[in-house]
Amino acid sequence: MGEKVLLTEVDIRRALVRIAHEIVERNKGCQDLVLVGMHTRGVPLARRLAALLKDIEKAEVPVGTLDIGLYRDDLPYREEPPHIRSTDIPADIVGKVVVLVDDVLFTGRSIRAAMDAIMDLGRPRRIQLAVLVDRGHRELPIRAEYVGRNLPTSQQEEIQVRLQEVDGQELVVSVAPEREENMP
Amino acid sequence: MPRTDALLIRGGHLIDPSQGLDAPGDILLAEGKVAWVGKPGEPPPQKPAQILPAKGLVVCPGFIDLHCHLREPGFEEKETIATGTLAAARGGFTTVCCMANTNPPLDNLASVEFVLRRAAELGAVRVLPVACVSQGRKGQELAEMAELAGAGAVAFSDDGDPVASTRLMRHALEYALPLGLPIMDHPQDVSLSQGGVMHEGWVATRLGLKGMPSAAEEVAVARDILLAELTGGWVHLQHLSTAGSVELVRLAKEKGLPITAEVTPHHLALTHELVLGKSPDFPGLHPYDTRTKVNPPLRSKEDVAALIQGLKDGIIDAIATDHAPHTRVDKECEYDLAASGISGLETALGLLLGLVHRGEIGLPDLIALLTSGPARILKAAGIPGLGTLQAGAPADVTVFDPDAEWTVEPEAFASKGRNTLLAGAVLRGKAMATIYGGKVVFQG
């Protein structure tokens, strides 16, 4: 199978450090920030960002987890229902700046679902979006404030983010598209 | 004058338990009677007009069903005498006794005569009506049994329901005694069976359905036996379904009491586990399938084994279908509300031959239970000459292939009742030709 490495462990770490600095810069500090990691890989990314923010600003930023399963728009089209994991936001988000954290930004539908989920939990002052990879092909008018790396891809291509906490390795790879028919 | 209707059945294997016949041979039918039985290839005494080749097939007396429901008059949407007797012919039956739970019930001269007239006009096979024990089958006052017997009733039964009143059963037995006819009872203690829709046991417990305990039948069997002893009257016990019933009848017969008994093909082959609906042999069944609902209910494996043993030991006199056709609507509802009964005439032989193929009973014994056994009961009731291939007997003959495999397709039934849990099942053995009064009424 054709697999191409797009980001290495070092690339990922650098990207997160840069995002952390951008978050501080844009929000003039860490006050009123809540990081919300989207299941599955957004969760460890949010935790890492919180740790980085602590290094930079010496401030504890609360980290929550969010499962968007109940807000998905493709439920009727799926054979199997996605497994729903816990949503756990430790802080009141009313009036806060919520930074959604996800691994890949693609069509934007997951982010749309996440914003709906956040809004049901309270009325934040602002919602921002941090992603490790933006691969384009948006289907909704959604844009990320913080992008680790812009990776132009074809629609058929599959981008896999692999993180130590979930997958046991640190990589972002592109997997060649599955073919509709086998080549002769 | 040349006899033009003579039919020679040639090359088959003759089995006639009435005369201990079990050998290859040919048989000639003429003028509605058995004319001659000969060795294979032996020239018949007259030239047949028609030859029915029966190589590899069994040729035996036409089957007799002591118990079926033809539903006419009153429930013609379920079955008619025409469709029911055609179903009988397809199943290899040449004589059927129809039950009295019609509307109006067969508790009066006109109804019995109606059945006999319809049967003569439209029936494919011989129909012998069983008349009511009580007026309106209400279990309160005796029906006019002597007049009904005179009109052609061969027995009395309130089947569909038991004769619940022990007192009325006693008087029925006494009154029928000089008529020489049996009281056929559906033995069931209604206070024990009330509300029950299947066999009481572990399956009913799992399914949360109300069960009918075996004792509901056995209490009534015991009662009927005691009343036979008290009155000297003849009780014919219908569709026995439990090991305990077989045991009670065994004791009664040992005492020489006037008791006869029948069992159905479904009680000999099927068990209550089928109500769970998960059976590799019956692919179309689902849980709570109302096609499994029958009264008496399908019982346990142990009961089935005891019934088969009862056949072998001569405790059971006959196999009767209890063919109970129903419409789709009668069955397409909740289990508790569904009508009880299985459309059985067209699958009886295939189901019963399963017992033979599994080595549980010999083929001649099975044929005896379908021919000479029930014939003895009807002979005592004044209908002689049935169930035998002896020269001079009515030319009622069944020719069947004991090994032909076929898939049960209720939509292809002659019966209007498609209510069978055997739908889609593969049976081994089927009637190939049925001859009633010398005429081929079915050929497969």
């Binding site: 799926r78 229902p81 729903i84 | 849980p287």
Partner: protein, 333 residues
């Protein structure tokens, strides 16, 4: 084209796909006799997420928007019906309700006619409560919609059993190895029957206990791994969870019990009897309770009772089932 659609979606949701519940493949929920441990766990895990939604100020998520849930109750049960309706509404489904009193049952309309009407009205999920055992199986044979049994006759009450399992797991941490005593009218109890399947699948030891006349025939053969007791003291000995069943007063009239007084004397779950169970044993009751009959008020409202919590958990479990059944309505194949 379809391939591309699939892989595009797969890429978008790859994280979620990786932990998808492969176990769940039920089109209907009719009983727990065909549920594996994995399937039950899938329900309980989903229910935990649903319970989080119930803890919010706005207890509503858009998950089942556009889906229609019909509740058809052929037997009065305010509690179960409301629980299902809240569950459906919390998931933003459209809910329509039919009760036996208001429907055409009295006009002689058959169950089949009625359910075909639900179908024609576009029900995606039909929640059915019926007084006849097996009625949901019959309905499932004849409609496209998913059926959830909300209790049928004496046969099954799968959602009650699942909420019991949820409550036990939440309070005790795990169900495996627990001794669960169910006391009362076993013969007529759909709650007991479904709990037997669910508890056994989860590895619990089940003890069924009641007077002989309220134990169904051949119970040992029906549930070979279950312990059957006629003495409530013996059943309670060492129990981790105790469930008292509602006693219908009709049982006495039917000749199954000499008197309610004697039943109370022998089977009522009171503090004296409860003391025979393990310290801190959990007390459950499917409701509605006859306080002072099968359970004493001090036990019903005591510290070991989770009876009120069962009601909340019921909504969460029913939300989980509605969610799990609502998939694939427009699958391309």
């Amino acid at each position: 084209m379809r391939m591309r659609e699939v892989s595009r979606r797969a890429a978008e949701s790859q994280a979620i796909l990786s932990t998808e519940t492969k176990e769940w493949h039920h089109r209907h929920v009719l009983d727990l006799d065909d549920f594996s441990r994995g399937e039950i766990e899938a329900v309980l895990d989903t229910a935990r997420a649903m319970k989080e939604v119930l803890g919010r100020e706005i207890k509503r998520v858009p998950t089942l928007r556009g889906k229609t849930v019909v509740t058809a109750f052929y037997e009065p049960s305010t509690r179960t019906r409301v629980s299902f309706e809240l569950a459906a509404k919390n998931l933003s489904a459209d809910v329509a309700s039919i009760s036996a009193q208001a429907s055409s049952v009295e006009k002689g309309e058959s169950l089949l006619d009625t359910v075909r009407t639900f179908q024609a009205l576009g029900a995606d999920i039909l929640v059915l409560r019926h007084w006849q055992s097996g009625a949901p199986y019959f309905v499932a044979q004849h409609v496209e919609a998913s059926i959830i049994s909300a209790g049928d006759g004496s046969h099954a009450h799968p959602t009650q059993a699942l909420l019991d399992l949820f409550t036990i797991r939440e309070r005790m941490g795990s169900i495996e190895g627990l001794r669960v005593a169910i006391i009362g009218d076993i013969a007529y109890s759909r709650v007991a029957r479904s709990n037997v399947w669910g508890l056994m699948a989860m590895g619990a030891q089940v003890v069924l206990c009641g007077p002989s006349t309220l134990l169904p025939s051949d119970i040992e053969k029906a549930y070979p791994d279950v312990i059957v007791e006629t003495s409530s003291e013996a059943a309670l000995e060492g129990a981790d969870v105790v469930m008292a069943l509602r006693l219908q007063r009709e049982r006495q009239e039917a000749g199954l019990l000499p008197s309610l007084r004697e039943y109370i004397r022998l089977y009522q779950l009171n503090s004296e009897r409860l003391a025979r169970a393990r310290p801190g044993a959990l007390v459950l009751h499917p409701g509605p309770m006859n306080e002072g009959l099968e359970i004493s008020p001090e036990v019903a409202h005591g510290p070991q009772s989770a009876i009120e919590e069962q009601v909340t958990n019921g909504v969460a479990v029913r939300m989980a089932l509605l969610y799990l059944l609502a998939r694939g309505g427009h699958a391309e194949d």
